[in-house]
Assembly symmetry: C2
Homo-oligomer: 235 residues x 2
């Protein structure tokens, strides 16, 4: 028995607020204000392909971890959940560095937009990078996809959102100004920072740390002091 | 934006009782006695890749619908669930004829066998054809994969298992003889037939119908009369 190769192609591209990996929610649906737009590509850009999809509240996206493909994988990885100290097999993890580089994410279906240019799915709670290539869409089917008796091993509990978040006066004014263009921007920033996107080894430190991330076309900067984040800039 | 192509390779091959599509359970885990063996292929055939996987009770398999790939897809399909009369978009279905031909199935992890030849995962409740090429294994993570508020549209309820099943005396003796080789063979046959694998249009008929299917290396034959199945041969 030998390995066979298969060719898969992009059926659509996800446009998301997340321009870099840092601060992306650790799981889908943790931050419902993270709204993505899945633009279908030819020849899939026709309403026939999504007929009756609106009956379903949630979808599975299969996608390529496109930024990681060149880096490949290692047989074992260190899950952030285990503090970065313990190695588990890559197939015992949802690591983004994995053989074949395929991810799956269950998101909320908010709307299906049909325009002369084609079909766009509006999705809530996305945890994917901007420009992620989508290779399949499947409806989430509760009786088949919910396994109530499943045991989640070392990933058995949802990550906590423990960090408190505030804005400087200037950052708040700036943030509110951008809400016309990016609805719910303030809540989105608050929720992204509340989940404490810092790498595990930095969470042990108490000194003031400064961070920045690109979100939409903005630069968001913040300071972490103890267990609190202060947003210092939204530009 | 144009479609990009990606290459994916088989990481393992699933050995299952199902040699043809007819009578395969309509969903994973409907028939837990349907046990499959996932044999890992080089270079993934090393215990590092599955280290700590045994902590999880259930796994997602990503696989290729290998028997359908040449036939391709159509933009809309007729789900059996809707009696074969109504068309929905292929992305609004879990159809096996779909762009890129990738399937996902959540199965129970029963055991991880490590032998000098390599690693084999023993899986319960499989709904995949024998020889299915596996392209990824991911742990089922309850807090992320269970969406209690999800609405399943036209596929909102599990299929009923309504058919009663009996064996002729000869078929029963033969079946029990094969149980040494294929444990739980009788229960497996009973559950497969109980879900009434006939195509929708035949379910409306009351006349006696005869069917046969290959299961493991056996031929199983049965008659359907009204709402009852009689197993007439296990050879």
């Amino acid at each position: 028995m030998t390995n066979k190769e298969y060719s898969v192609q992009t059926i659509g591209v996800l446009h998301s607020p997340f321009k870099e990996k840092f601060a992306i929610p650790r799981q889908p649906r943790l931050v419902k204000e993270a709204v993505g737009h899945l633009q279908m590509l030819e020849p899939f850009n026709h309403e026939d392909f999504v007929r009756d999809l609106a009956q379903f509240s949630h979808l599975w996206l299969l996608f390529m971890f496109h930024q990681n493909l060149e880096k490949g994988y290692t047989p074992t990885i260190r899950p952030p959940r285990l503090g970065g100290n313990k190695k588990v097999g890559v197939f015992a993890s949802r690591s983004t560095y994995r053989p074949n580089g395929i991810g799956m994410s269950a998101v909320e279906l908010l709307d299906i937009e049909k325009t002369p240019k084609g079909i766009t799915l509006v999705l809530g709670g996305v945890d994917l990078l901007d420009q992620t290539p989508i290779i399949d869409i499947k409806p989430y089917i509760p009786y088949s996809d919910i396994i109530t008796e499943a045991n989640g091993g070392f990933a058995d509990e949802a990550p906590d959102a423990q960090m408190t978040v505030s804005f400087t006066a200037d950052a708040l004014i700036s943030c509110e100004r951008f809400e016309a263009q990016y609805p719910q921007l303030k809540v989105l920033i608050e929720k992204l920072l509340a989940q404490d996107p810092r790498p595990a080894y930095k969470k042990k430190r108490d000194d003031k740390q400064s961070y920045g991330v690109r979100l939409y076309n903005l630069n968001v900067s913040w300071d972490v002091i103890g267990g609190h984040s202060v947003v210092t800039g939204v530009n």
